[in-house]
Amino acid sequence: MSDALYSKPRIVARVAPPLNVRLWRLLGVALALAFLAYLPFVLAHRSAFGFRLTNAELLNLGLSQINLMMIAMLGALSLNYLTGCAGLISIGHAAFYATGAMTAAIVGTQWGWPFPLALAAAAVTGALVGIIAGLPSLRVRGLYFVLSTLAVHHVVIFVFLEYQFRYFDVVGVPYDPPRLGSYALNTSMRWYFFLLPVVALVYWGFKNSLGTREGRAMRAMRDHELAATAAGVDVRVLRLKAFAFSSAIASMAGALQAYFMSNVTSEAFGLDFAIQFIAMIIIGGLGSLGGSLVGAAIWLLAPSIISGLAPQGGDASGWMGTLLVEHKPQLVQAAFGVLIILLLIFAPGGVAGLGRKLKAMLSPQRAR
């Protein structure tokens, strides 16, 4: 299945780049870290280096938004691992989020386990449910497998709904305020500095896994299953392992989301929630982990940015005014949908693909 969407294999053996290139890279990393560390302060206090910034200058973004984006990044990374790298298309991601939320509710709210243990429990349960959800893949492929994940989604959400009604108040499942030991995660800033290393760790975890022999076998399985089997890859075990790893992370992300929101209902994990992860990985580029991060950022932040750019047209007259005032949310949604369509048609590799093209344009001498 040679498809421009998937990333090309990397050249493993390479020569160490010259010193000045390494220094530039180091500077880049340092700048990025500094930016990431200062960002929450800018967003929380709405000012940078003492200069007050307007909402428009800050792109209409807030710290909670960034935190939710980071939790979504975990979902995008895990789905891309499953779909882009192991080739298993799944609409069931919301189900794993729900699994994590439910596990966290059982062990955290009902049994009183501390927050880190609840996260671990969510990951373990997620892995188990993932293996079960992956079982149909041993029998069917492609579109039929997608539909089986849809069926799994409905079953899991039904279970969550029953759980919500039976054990908790009607308006949702509550979660205790999370704390790491004695450090309480009660402000957006604290959540930010907690989530940032988590996302980084997960990213590196997936990246390393793809660099191992098994990771390469997974990508071989994705590209041409029969050839991979002929080469000695145990496709069935590999598929289930991919599912387990991916669902564990998604489940943990679900638990994080639940604790962050402090109250979740089953409606939060509907089909549109699952579909948004697919959108994220397509925008970012299938098979590219870095792309998933960008895709998650675009999906979570773009509506706010678009909404912030469109003026609060209280004074605009005529149909333009009506459009901006009465139908602004619809306008934002429509613009968003059109953006996705344009991206899909004109940028098949997603943002990662565009990035690769850009790199190829800028450094024509570099051999690939």
Partner: protein, 414 residues
């Protein structure tokens, strides 16, 4: 955020105080005394920002959208007449697409990104529960909710004021009305509800009310996206209730009433307030809609000649919202707009979040001049509209009709 208040508001407050003193000394009492600015509360020299958090493009936008339009229209009317204390009211409406995560983001935006003096609406119950601790600890008050939840309303907080009748009151008034109307000794009530949290709540309230009159209640559920309700109607035929109450979306009422007509069941039914819209009655037609009423704390526009109704209808016609004015959600938004405007007027020229809360906490009354019963808030009671009336539709005259006056219904909800 708190650093800003302490470091910049004091010099500003001194300047404002000096300006006011000067103005008073010069006898310029008629000039707008709005030199005071509190940007972090959304208060500026010439306008105040007021926030709305509702579902404008998601699954419940067909009812929440008109509410927002009603609110915006009232504020437009106020602005056209010169504003409040010399400031225009700028309504910032945030769309949450019925998504709790989007609500959290939007709430933060209205708190300190594009700060507002207060918020109205909050139409998603799950978000109310999630944000309840943050709201109750201040400083942003919620003045006029679209739907009340226990988490936010109990215990009574000076930061929260409900702006719509609750399911408990709907159940009490509705059941009470029919028990009296049909002169029932041991009423048998049936609730048709969608399978959601609110539906279960409502069914419980109905059961409580029925028990109060020595009767019984049962419930049957259906999917929000249902297309056919034969199984539910079979259940109704088996139970033979005296009357039915419906909870859900417009579809729920339409399907249920049409099915009742199809099976020739002549059972009166009443829907919750949100289900009393013109589109439901039009879709039902006189045959199926004849038995259908709804319990509501607001009066549909154009249905009577009370001063508030006439004023609202005239303005709606003027801005081209004639089709929206009989929609109960539009009326609710309009009345909440009135509540917000009166609260601001009462707070005066030196407006801020704290001052607004100070003004509202001891209690106040909103007299919508016939669009609802007088809404009374006391120090210990922020329930909001508590008196509901039963309405039906007169297909002949093509408008809503009321069964009695609000005063007759006080006894049901005490």
């Amino acid at each position: 955020m708190s650093e800003w208040v302490s470091s910049t508001s004091r010099p500003r407050a001194t300047v404002a105080a000096f300006a006011l003193a000067l103005a008073a000394a010069l006898g310029l009492s008629g000039a707008p005394a709005s030199a005071q600015e509190v940007p972090e509360d959304g208060v500026y020299k010439d306008h105040i920002d007021w926030g709305i958090l509702m579902d404008l493009s998601g699954p419940t936008s067909s009812s929440q959208g008109p509410w927002v339009t009603g609110f915006q229209d009232y504020m437009r009317k106020v602005n056209e007449a010169g504003g409040i204390s010399g400031r225009k009211v700028n309504v910032l409406a945030e769309d949450n697409r019925f998504n709790a995560a989007a609500d959290k983001i939007a709430f933060e935006k209205l708190s300190n990104q594009t700060p507002v003096i207060a918020i109205s609406g909050m139409g998603t119950s799950a978000s109310q529960v999630a944000l309840a601790p943050t709201i109750k600890s201040g400083p942003l008050p919620v003045v006029g909710t679209y739907t009340p939840t226990k988490a936010l309303s109990e215990p009574v907080s000076p930061m929260v004021y409900n702006g719509f009748c609750g399911y408990k009151q709907m159940a009490q008034a509705g059941v009470g009305f029919y028990v009296d109307q049909l002169k029932l000794k041991a009423p048998k009530v049936m609730t048709v509800a969608i399978e959601t949290a609110g539906g279960r709540d409502y069914a419980n309230f109905v059961a409580e009310s029925a028990a109060k009159y020595g009767g019984t209640a049962s419930a049957v559920t259906m999917k929000v996206t249902a297309v056919d309700v034969t199984p539910q109607v079979q259940e109704i035929m088996a139970q033979k209730p005296d009357f039915i109450t419906i909870y859900g979306v417009e579809n729920t009422s339409i399907l249920t009433m049409k099915a009742l007509a199809q099976y020739g069941l002549n059972i009166p039914a009443f829907g919750i307030t949100y289900l009393g819209t013109p589109s439901v009655y039009q879709a039902l037609g006189p045959q199926a809609g004849g038995n259908y009423t709804f319990i509501s704390c607001f009066t549909p526009g154009g249905s009577d000649q009370s001063p508030g109704n006439v004023e609202m209808s005239a303005y709606a016609d003027k801005v081209g919202h004639t089709t929206l004015k009989p929609n109960i959600n539009y009326v609710a938004g309009w009345v909440t707009g009135q509540m917000a405007a009166e609260a601001l007027a009462k707070t005066g020229a030196e407006a801020s979040r704290a001052k607004l809360v100070e003004t509202l906490a001891p209690g106040f009354t909103v007299d919508s001049k016939g669009l609802s019963a007088p809404i009374v808030y006391t120090k210990d009671d922020h329930t909001g509209p508590q008196i509901l009336k039963m309405f039906g539709y007169d297909y002949g005259a093509n408008k809503f009709k009321a069964f009695g006056e609000y005063g007759d219904y006080g006894k049901y909800t005490k």
